[in-house]
């Protein structure tokens, strides 16, 4: 059963010192699914994403990606990771940055397409340190998907992106999912959450609700996703100290 899931997280815990950032999280994401991670600041979304791509080792539980136990270097070429803060080389141009991430993933051919997708092709010669925050975010996304990964981990990809481009991003995400790419997207924006096939609500390091947006509305007892989310969040006990 396990291999029909692109991502299989079982009972994962992670502590930073005495602080439990993740506490027994279990979630599965099917291939071709768009899975939204929601939760307040400090809930553990970034920590979970970093564990899925093997940057942090679990203190308990297992993470399986594309059928392989993580951490596993061989799987990484099939993963694209967009970090929460645009992590780019400020002294390089947009194109040089994307080129670099393409090269280390062995996919030099996708550069132009990635730049066109984020609408940076005209600005490809601009040096990153001269770009605005939103433009950097776009460049960062291009770096994450230039090698057409099977699994895309996007940590708040649309922060600072203008509404027109945000709509286009989501159209593109959906098209990629239809072609079989699996996406895990963290977000604080509820109308984006509504575009995900499934949502996981994380708070105090625990997964407190999971399901389609309709399920979440039903569980939270509200037609408004935001209200449902707040109702579910308010119902959880506080973080357990280890």
């Amino acid at each position: 059963m396990g291999d029909s899931y692109a991502v299989d997280v079982q009972e994962v815990s992670k502590s930073f010192g005495a602080f439990k950032a993740l506490n027994g999280v279990t979630l599965r994401v099917r291939q071709g699914e768009i899975y939204g991670l929601l939760g307040p600041n400090g809930a553990g979304k970034t920590t979970l994403i970093r564990m899925i791509c093997g940057l942090l080792e679990a203190h308990g539980g297992t993470v399986t990606v594309l059928g392989q136990r993580m951490p596993n270097v061989a799987v990484l070429r099939h993963i694209g990771y967009m970090t929460q803060q645009a992590a780019l080389y400020p002294a390089l141009s947009v194109e040089e940055n994307v080129d670099f991430f393409a090269a280390i993933n062995g996919a030099e051919s996708g550069v132009k397409e990635a730049l066109e997708l984020v609408q940076l092709y005209d600005r490809r010669k601009s040096v990153v340190s001269t770009l605005s925050g939103g433009l950097r975010q776009r460049c960062s996304l291009a770096c994450a998907l230039v090698h057409r990964p099977e699994l895309l981990l996007l940590d708040e990809p649309t922060v600072g992106i203008d509404p027109q481009l945000r709509v286009q991003f989501w159209e593109y995400f959906r098209r990629m999912a239809a072609e079989g790419t699996t996406l895990i997207v963290s977000s604080h924006v509820m109308d984006e959450a509504d575009r995900c096939q499934r949502l996981g609500l994380i708070q105090y390091g625990r997964l407190l609700a999971e399901g389609s947006p309709a399920d979440i509305r039903a569980q939270g007892g509200s037609q408004n996703l935001e209200e449902a989310f707040l109702a579910l969040a308010a119902a959880t006990p506080r973080r357990a100290e280890s």
Binding site: R50, L55, I79, T83, Q85, F101
Partner: protein, 366 residues
């Protein structure tokens, strides 16, 4: 001007230091280490230059001079055969030897003595005490030859260097390598920390790149820069400063390249122990200054207190500096076992650091 706002800045700075224990520790540890080392080096240095005496005089006066030299406080003497002199200079057991010729006594009676003084010559500071001791011996000789003024015309021969060989020549050979070593070290450690603080290292870790590939890629990149710099330094030193050079320029360049590679890897490795550029900067005096003091650049390793000699002998820079001097001053080539050792130690150091840098890379990310 508002005292309030100025105080806010001052307070913010001190608050930051309170959290940054490592910087604070380095700030207070580094000066003690550096000054302590310097004091120990200068006060503890004991040995006076070893001088061989080959007395071939058939008359009595040679023995008189030899005796005065033996009691000189400037030098330590031993009796040798003139034919053993050059090999002993070469293997470093003597810095000079004096040959008193068979007609020395009759020369003195005739009024002009011309003993041969053979100097090793690669360390300019060591010639002075030898010549000084000899001068004193000749003064006491004059009192033995009643009624005559004995003029003293030593025939000074240099094994290496020569009369025009000066302090810059001696230091230049070491500094040609040193300049490259430290500049490359600094840019590597800072740019590797940049990678960490701008978040791109996390991205590299989430890519199929292997740790060894990152370390080797960095090494090659900075080595290219370092080699260009090394070439520039070499050309400037030889063509403009006219630093004494006997050796093969390609060998010098090869040794510089090895030092640059060692510096890159030292930078990568040490960047694992710094969390910010700020902390990395603190490493520089702590890493750089003791190495300069102990690598024999300023004080020859053989004159250091023996405890420090052990330390000097495990520092790669000691071998690098020695190798550079052997090439530039003594025209060493790769058939010399000392140069083979120097190059092998520096190369071995690179390999160890590459392995160590690779091993520490992932651990320090989380």
């Amino acid at each position: 001007m508002s005292g309030h706002r100025i105080r806010a800045i001052t307070r913010r700075l001190l608050q930051g230091f309170r959290r940054d224990r490592r910087t604070l520790a380095l700030l207070f540890v580094a000066p003690i280490v550096i000054l302590g080392l310097l004091g120990y080096l200068m006060r503890g240095s004991s040995s006076s230059p070893s001088v061989g005496i080959a007395n071939q005089d058939s008359g009595p006066l040679g023995a008189v001079v030899a005796k005065t030299l033996r009691h000189s406080s400037h030098i330590t003497t031993s009796d040798i055969n003139a034919s053993d002199g050059d090999p002993k200079l070469r293997d470093g057991s003597l810095v000079a030897y004096v040959v008193l010729p068979s007609d020395f006594s009759s020369q003195a009676q005739a009024g002009t003595v011309a003993p041969e003084v053979h100097l090793e010559g690669s360390q300019p500071g060591e010639d002075a005490p030898v010549l000084q001791a000899l001068q004193q011996a000749m003064t006491s000789l004059a009192s033995q030859v009643a009624g005559r003024n004995v003029s003293f015309q030593p025939q000074v021969k240099y094994l290496y260097g020569g009369a025009n060989y000066d302090t810059l020549d001696y230091f230049g050979a070491a500094f040609v390598g040193l300049v490259v070593f430290f500049l490359v070290f600094v840019i590597t450690i800072v740019s590797f920390l940049n990678e960490r603080s701008q978040g791109t290292l996390e991205r590299l870790m989430a890519s199929p790149l292997r740790r060894g590939e990152i370390v080797l890629g960095y090494m090659l990149g900075f080595t290219v820069i370092a080699l260009v710099q090394a070439a520039e330094v070499l050309i400037f030193s030889l063509a403009i400063l006219r630093i004494h050079n006997q050796g093969n320029v390609l060998l010098i360049f090869g040794m510089e390249a090895l030092m640059a590679i060692a510096a890159v890897n030292l930078g990568i490795f040490l960047s694992m122990f710094a969390r910010s550029e700020f902390q990395a900067v603190q490493f520089i005096p702590l890493v750089v200054v003791p190495q300069i003091l102990l690598s024999g650049i300023i004080f020859p390793v053989s004159t250091e207190p023996s405890a420090l000699q052990y330390l000097s002998n495990v520092l790669p820079l000691t071998y690098a500096v020695n190798g550079m001097r052997d090439i530039m001053v003594k025209d060493a080539d790769l058939t010399w076992s000392s140069l083979q050792l120097d190059a092998a130690v520096v190369a071995g150091f690179c390999v160890v650091l590459i392995a160590a840098g690779t091993a520490t890379l992932r651990r320090r990310l989380a």
